[in-house]
Amino acid sequence: MKVVAADSANPTAEASGRRSLADRLRLRFASGDLGLIPVIIALVVIWIVFELVNSHFLTGRNISNLILQSVEIGLLGIGETFILLLGEIDLSIAAVSGVAAAILVLLSSAGLNPWLAIVASLAAGAVLGVFQGVWVTLVGVPAFIVTLAGSLGYQGFLLAMLGDAGTVPIENSTLLGLATTYVSGVYAWILALLGVLVYLWALMQRRAARLRFELDRVPDLGSIGARVIALAVVSALIVLALNTYRGIPVAGLVLIVLIVIFSFVTQSTRFGRHVYALGGHREAARRAGIRVKHVRIAVFTLAGVFGAAGGIMGASRLGSASPASGGGNLLLDSIAAAVIGGTSLFGGRGSVWNALAGALVIGSVENGMDLLSAPSSTKYLVEGGILLVAVTIDTLTRRRRAKAGR
């Protein structure tokens, strides 16, 4: 992994300034802070392997499918990432998504405005999240147990709600449209361009701030240019591929926009900083005057809302809610997405971007094995293996960090 990581980042090396890239990578490796590099390498390897085995893998149609499949996992993964940043775990997030899906579908088939149904569904997720957050924070029961109990209970809700009907189909076109609408052709290109410009703007803002306060380590224009060009190239390839089918799936855009927003929340707001502080050293956070209980309850609430959002997208893609909604390996997929992406199970390290990368890895593996019509036995074995490897890497990294740290 070490060697691969060092190689892969070479392209950005020339651009990034004084200290040689190899040195900086070695430093980052030693401090256990490789960010998204390993998971992106893993993703590329997975794609190449599947493409070699089955040439349908990297077609616009399949990539579009893959994105749609990954959206639900990605949304749950963002929620799980927040919980993991605290150093807690949420085992109920998939069950919450099932309940949210059922509420959405039942309200909509009762004739409620689809947008109100979505709001109600998200609110239900928030209520479940608050409940768990209060139980964990104020009563003091470990999150592991509260959310496990919650998970069972919510499956009960789900059965009670859908009991007689079994599978309830979505008839409302707005709700179905969430997963079947695409932005195509020129509009897709415009969106990609906007994304690149926003990224450029954000980097320039950061540079401007450092210049304004006369600080050292001003990001040089070369490295900003290299990053922006890299993003432009990747976006162009994706749009090119997707435009051969129907364009960019709106569900994927929703995921990206949410990730950008919550990446901002985690990196640039007080709430985000306090989430990291709690995950790093809760007692330090408390002594620094951070309102620990508020933050923890807020994070559990947020996870509930993301669970619900994932449930809504999942229901829209499948066109129905059923007693199986939120079941299967969705829970482990969402935890795996967060952890594979590089978010630590031990709290305080990670980012919501990791959830996207992890969701794409899980989505790609599932999608690729479906294409190969691999039996369920193989799929479970492979996914179990990936999760174990990801957590092992996290554990080893933590150990190395502890060694390098002091």
Binding site: S268, T269, H274, Y276, G280, I290, G347, G405
Partner: protein, 269 residues
């Protein structure tokens, strides 16, 4: 008795009320009488060492001063007026900052973030709705404070996890100083440090006092104490038993006070 000695020595030398004056603290935890009668003063620009054996009540004393524990009896005066410290926030509001032995730093955050933890600076984007942390301004404001104390740290975006023990201690102290504190309490600042790092931290403590801050240091290490402290307050079994001016006392005498040997001399058999 210790009390009268202390008050006199304090006011004789300075002529102004002490920055912090603690009088006759008592604190009981269940069956344990942690503090029986603790009194001490700290003046501006002075380093006071609080020494004593394990269980003498040092930690309880600083917890009371930093607002973590509330005394059963006793009075605390800060800058001449009586104060009630029921929460850590009360103490901080007065300008009392405590650097605990476990340092209370977030390893996963960088130096600037730790310096400003809980007191982040903001830029308002939309009033009342969006406030964005101002990373650059935080870093900018930290630099002169660090410079004034002669603190040398790696780039301020370095993760605290990758710092040495001495550097971590420095960050913790700098954090206390950054907030314009008047009194800094240090709990075993050199306990886990090597020789060179101890040296650096002790120098920092001296410069802190020179800049006009009152410093209260808990330490087990008497050579450190003799190196930095202006006065030494000895606790034994929850009581203030001695209050020495460092330049006028020997190590043996302090040890005797800590272990209770002096008391036994005094008490007739």
């Amino acid at each position: 008795m210790a009390d009268t000695v202390q008050t006199q020595s304090g006011q004789d030398r300075h002529g102004t009320p002490p920055l912090l004056s603690v009088r006759h603290l008592k604190k009981r935890f269940g069956a344990v009488q942690a503090l029986r009668d603790v009194s001490l003063d700290v003046h501006r620009g002075e380093v006071v060492a609080l020494v004593g054996d394990n269980g003498a009540g040092k930690s309880t004393t600083i917890k009371i001063i930093s607002g973590v524990e509330f005394p059963d009896e006793g009075e605390i005066f800060f800058e001449g007026s009586r104060v009630t410290l029921s929460t850590p926030a009360d103490s901080e509001a007065l300008g009392i900052q405590t650097v605990y032995q476990d340092l209370a730093l977030c390893d996963n955050l960088d130096i600037v973030s730790n310096l400003y933890l809980g007191r982040e600076l903001y830029r308002t984007i939309i009033p009342g709705v969006i406030r964005v942390m101002n990373h650059a301004e935080m870093e900018k404001n930290a630099i002169p404070v660090l410079k004034r104390l002669g603190i040398n740290l790696p780039p301020l975006n370095t993760s605290v996890a990758s710092l040495s023990g001495g550097q971590r201690q420095t960050v913790a102290v700098a954090r206390a100083v950054l907030w314009g504190s008047k009194l800094v309490i240090l709990d075993e600042p050199t306990a886990a440090l090597g020789v060179a790092q101890t040296r650096a931290v002790l120098d920092l403590v001296k410069r802190l006092a020179e800049s006009g801050v009152g410093v209260l240091v808990i330490s087990h290490n008497l050579s450190d104490v003799f190196e930095v402290a202006d006065r030494i307050v000895v606790l034994r079994l929850g009581q203030t038993v001695a209050n020495y001016v460092t330049s006028e006392v020997s190590g043996e005498k302090v040890v005797a006070a800590i272990t209770g040997a002096t008391e036994e001399e005094v008490v007739p058999r």
